[in-house]
């Protein structure tokens, strides 16, 4: 479903020449699984997922989503993904219904099937009571629901969640995690980035630990615990990042 090969993204930096935000990142995610990208802030998770959603272009490497190339076939890629991040807000001056309908139409859905799909979505996400509420009047939780509805209205095979729980209270975050699990059970391929260990433990089938644009480790939780001799994801995470820091310090000194 998702094939990422040696994805690199660097920016011109006045001070350092180039700044490498993403350094030869490779991973693949399959249908029916939640693939977790785990890393501290600034690790390159958002950059990687923005490349997958085609709003950024990689400096080198390739990303294939559902068989389409993110660089040369961006419009087709966008047709086949649903993207939710802390940066994708809802329109203030649109109601929940209008917003989801608008995106459904942009995804090329016909009016009739769209209405049926929306009715069932609004039921499932318990959104019927906010149907005619303007975005400006919604609480954070309501907005998150609208975002989910907006991202899955066209029933995409691939879903990308970029730090989607940041800023949500426990109840709303939990509801979102449940929704993600449900989507996995429907056979969707989900990429889920977070810096919260508990979420990764709860949800992800496989996890990649990313730091400073590089992948430090990848595997199922069991595989990771076994390889690195830890029983707690948080300890493992700290351990890896610390080691990486030491390694970089040695390189810098040399």
């Amino acid at each position: 479903m998702i094939e990422v090969r040696s994805l690199t993204k660097s920016y011109a930096d006045l001070r350092r020449g180039t700044f490498v935000a993403l350094d030869r990142l490779s991973f693949s995610a399959r249908a029916g699984e939640v693939y977790g990208l785990l890393g501290p802030n600034g690790a390159g998770k958002t950059t990687a997922l923005r490349i997958l959603s085609t709003v950024l272009q990689p400096t080198s490497g390739s990303a294939i989503v559902n068989g389409f190339d993110c660089v040369t076939q961006p419009a087709l890629v966008r047709h086949h993904i649903g993207f939710i991040s802390a940066n994708t807000a809802v329109y203030d001056r649109m109601t929940a219904w209008e917003m989801v309908e608008y995106f459904g139409r942009l995804y090329g859905m016909e009016k009739e099937p769209l209405r049926d799909r929306m009715e069932s979505l609004f039921d499932r996400l318990q959104m019927q009571d906010i149907r005619d509420l303007l975005g400006a009047k919604m609480s954070t939780g309501m907005k998150q629901k609208v975002s989910i509805a907006r991202a899955i209205v066209h029933d995409p095979p691939v879903l990308i969640f970029d730090e989607a729980t940041s800023g949500l209270d426990v109840l709303v975050a939990r509801a979102l995690l449940d929704a993600v699990a449900e989507l996995r059970d429907q056979g969707k391929c989900v990429v889920f980035s977070t810096h919260i260990m508990r979420e990764a433990e709860r949800l992800c089938d496989r996890v990649a630990i990313v730091h400073q644009g590089r992948m430090l480790a990848e595997g199922t939780l069991e595989e990771l615990f076994e390889t690195y001799g830890h029983t707690d994801l948080e300890d493992l995470f700290f351990d890896l990042i610390q080691k990486q820091g030491e390694k970089m310090a040695v390189v810098d000194n040399q």
Binding site: R50, A75, Y91, S147
Partner: protein, 743 residues
């Protein structure tokens, strides 16, 4: 482009804007309220102006006493009623008599008094002397000579508006009084009154009422209309781009399948709608208010002029909305591009001022006297449309028709450029996800040179054109100062060398060395051309030359060169005649420009512009740039057309040498043709005369043109089949264009 998506985005944005109370207020409610309120305050002001009396101090009023024949000037605290047409006018000047001169001047300076009328000591005697000399003219021949005139003074302060107006009124009164004095003198000395006025003069305006109002409205209306079109476009544009970025909804839209172009068009149509509606609403509301206010002004003599304005003519009402469409499109695209570049609404608002500073002079230019619709002005964006609109409002439809193509052509090109620019903003990662960064000029310059790319960037290509234009401007200033005493051969040779090498080749080479890692590749000189490519350049030049001459003739026929230009061209022609040998002429006028201009425009500039990702855009841009650097307008158009052929040749062959060959031969043929014509009388005395259908060897036989066209098509087809080298951006763009057809 999927028009359904454009429509969806347009409808959503319109609804979004209409739900915004601020926008609605600004667009719809404000104009409906603004003008009536302004009109009302104007009306109040007019009332005030009518009743506010100016204080006039008369110093030396005693000089008027004791002459029983003298018509009355002062009557109590006012001027004599006989000197006014209406009581209101008389009341507007309040007199204070009996003050001393210094006291009066101090009062004038402090602003308590608006005007001081000063009759100097001896005024009475002089006045009497003038009268006596008239009465006794038969007895004394001496009296026929002019005696010195009595000169009262009117003191006022020109920097004070009120004082100035009062001065005008007082002067009018004094003139009337002078006429009365003169008439009394004449009457008393038995001279007919007509002696001092042998004939009368009466200007008669034969313009009809509607023409008069058209002349006035044609200047005012386009200006107001377009200012509102700009304002109406700006705020929605900022909200639609920078505002969305700020609210975080732009990324939501960008991850939808809508393509950037569709997003830009959807937003553009919204901004355009608001621009047009704002302009029309403002105009309508203003028109109604103005009608009312002007009616009031009619009563106030001497302020609104002799005849008050009537409503704008019907032609204005019909033509304005038509002209509004292209202008709104242009302003909307410009505003959208600026707004897309801004990170936040606050930053967006900052861009209004620079935008106004660029557009305002273009709108003001037609207001200055003597600026008429001609080819030069019609090619100036915005100004051309304003002038065209003025012409049609004035009813000069035929004259306007001549310039419809250049005016709308330029507007269309500007629109497309602005739209393309806006699209680029939506595609640019650095613009979309721009973080605040400290500006460090030194570091940035170091970065430009240290991290230089293989070939120049688009911005660097653009910069090269600007640099050439700036250097050209200063060199031209210096040269026109030096050319004061005529152009001789030495000066001509020097001028050509400077304009080619110093203005064009030198900056190009410096920029190439500074900004690129592969100078040879940038200048398309990294490999040798095949002989077929050189032949293609040669043949294309030979075939296109007759067509090019025909095109130049057509332009000159449609838009004749000005007197000034003809003088310049003649001086140039004389200088060319002075060149000692044909070889030298070729070197100066064909080979040198071919090398220098090709290095710049098909070398550095085109290499940079090709990073835009579409070869025809790059060719078009570079051709326009190539046109602009030519000195005369008629030449510029011709050069831009040739620039397209040269750009195509450069890209298809990937080599600059065929372009240089083309350029040298193309110039060379034109110069050589000039040599075949005999200087005296222009009679053709040449073995090539059979190619031409006129004696001056400027118009080719139709069959020559036909063969040329066929030949040029043949060469272009051959070029078309060459496997040209795509830039990375062009490859990407082509792949993206294919994504729907391929999948």
């Amino acid at each position: 482009m999927n028009f359904n998506n454009v429509k969806l985005i347009f409808v959503r944005e319109m609804r979004d804007q209409l739900r915004d109370r601020r926008t609605l207020f600004l667009i719809a409610v404000l104009p409906l309220l603004l003008y009536p309120i302004l009109g009302m305050s104007f009306f109040q002001l007019a009332q005030f102006m009518r009743h506010s009396a100016a204080k006039v101090v008369v110093v030396g009023a005693e000089e008027l006493d004791g002459l029983d024949w003298l018509p009355e000037l002062i009557d109590g605290e006012q001027f004599s009623p006989a000197l006014f047409n209406s009581i209101d006018e008389r009341k507007s000047l309040q007199l204070v008599v009996g003050a001393g001169q210094e006291e009066a001047q101090a009062a004038l300076k402090s602003g308590d008094v608006q005007v001081v009328v000063y009759f100097p000591v001896g005024f009475k005697e002089l006045l009497q002397e003038v009268r006596q000399s008239l009465l006794k003219r038969a007895e004394e021949t001496k009296s026929l000579e002019a005696t010195s005139l009595p000169t009262p003074q009117i003191l006022f302060i020109s920097s004070n508006e009120k004082s100035r107006i009062a001065q005008l009124r007082v002067e009018r009164v004094m003139r009337t009084w002078r006429t009365e004095v003169m008439q009394t003198n004449l009457r008393d000395s038995n001279v007919p009154l007509n002696a001092a006025k042998p004939f009368d003069l009466r200007p008669l305006d034969v313009a009809e009422e509607h023409q008069r109002s058209a002349a006035v409205w044609s200047k005012i209306l386009p200006f107001i209309l377009f200012v509102w079109a700009l304002t109406g476009a700006f705020y929605p544009a900022v909200d639609l781009c920078a505002g969305e970025k700020e609210r975080g909804t732009l990324e939501t839209l960008l991850v939808s399948p809508a393509q950037r172009r569709e997003i830009v068009w959807g937003k553009l149509l919204t901004v355009m709608t608001f621009s047009i509606v704002t302009a029309l609403l403002n105009l309508g509301s203003m028109g109604l208010t103005a009608n009312f206010v002007l009616a009031q002004f009619k009563d106030i003599g001497g302020i609104a002029g002799q005849s008050a304005l009537s409503l704008p003519p019907l032609s204005a009402i019909v033509w304005m909305p038509i002209a509004l469409i292209p202008i709104s499109a242009l302003f909307s695209a410009l505003c959208l591009a600026c707004a897309a570049f801004a990170r936040s609404t606050k930053e967006g608002q900052y861009y209004l001022m620079p935008l106004l500073l660029v557009i305002m002079p273009l709108m003001m230019l037609p207001l200055s006297p003597g600026v008429e619709l001609n080819l030069g002005n019609s090619l100036i964006p915005v100004t051309g449309v304003v002038l065209l609109l003025r012409s049609v409002i004035e009813g000069q439809l035929l004259q306007a028709a001549y310039f419809v193509v250049p005016v709308f052509g330029v507007t269309l090109i500007c629109c497309l450029l602005a739209i393309r620019w806006a699209e680029e903003q939506f595609n640019s990662e650095s613009v979309l996800f721009r973080e605040s960064e400290r500006l460090d000029l030194g570091r940035w310059l170091v970065h430009l040179v240290r991290d230089r790319t293989e070939t120049p960037t688009f911005a660097q290509g653009f910069f090269c054109v600007v640099l050439i234009l700036v250097i050209q401007f200063f060199v031209k200033l210096a040269m026109s100062a030096a050319a004061g005493n005529g152009i001789d051969y030495a000066f001509f040779r020097q001028a050509i060398f400077i304009s080619q090498v110093v203005c064009i080749a030198f900056p190009t080479i410096i920029l190439t060395l500074l900004f690129t890692r592969s100078p040879w590749k940038t200048l398309l000189l990294n490999r040798l051309p095949t002989w077929q490519m050189l032949a293609a350049g040669t043949f294309l030049a030979v075939f296109l030359r007759p067509l090019g001459m025909e095109f130049t003739q057509l332009i000159e026929r449609l838009y004749p060169a000005s007197e000034e230009m003809l003088v310049q061209m003649k001086a140039m022609g004389n200088a060319i005649n002075e060149v000692p040998s044909w070889g030298m002429l070729m070197l100066l006028m064909a080979v040198l420009p071919a090398v220098c201009e090709e290095l710049a425009f098909r070398g550095f500039v085109l290499s940079g512009l090709r990073h835009i990702g579409h070869k025809w855009w790059a060719i078009g841009f570079s051709a326009i740039a190539f046109g602009i650097v030519h000195p005369m307008l008629q030449q510029q158009i011709g050069a831009a057309a040739v620039g397209v052929a040269l750009g195509y040749l450069a890209i298809q062959t990937g080599n600059l040498l065929p372009c240089m060959v083309f350029h040298a031969i193309y110039n060379g043929i034109a110069l050589s043709l000039g040599n075949f014509v005999e200087e005296d009388g222009g009679a053709v005395n040449s073995q090539y005369a059979w190619l031409f259908s006129n004696g001056e060897m400027t118009i080719f036989q139709p069959w020559v043109l036909a063969i040329s066209a066929v030949g040029a098509i043949f060469v272009l087809r051959w070029l078309h089949r060459l496997p040209y080298q795509h830039t990375k951006e062009e490859q990407l763009q082509e792949a993206r264009d294919r994504q729907f057809t391929g999948a």
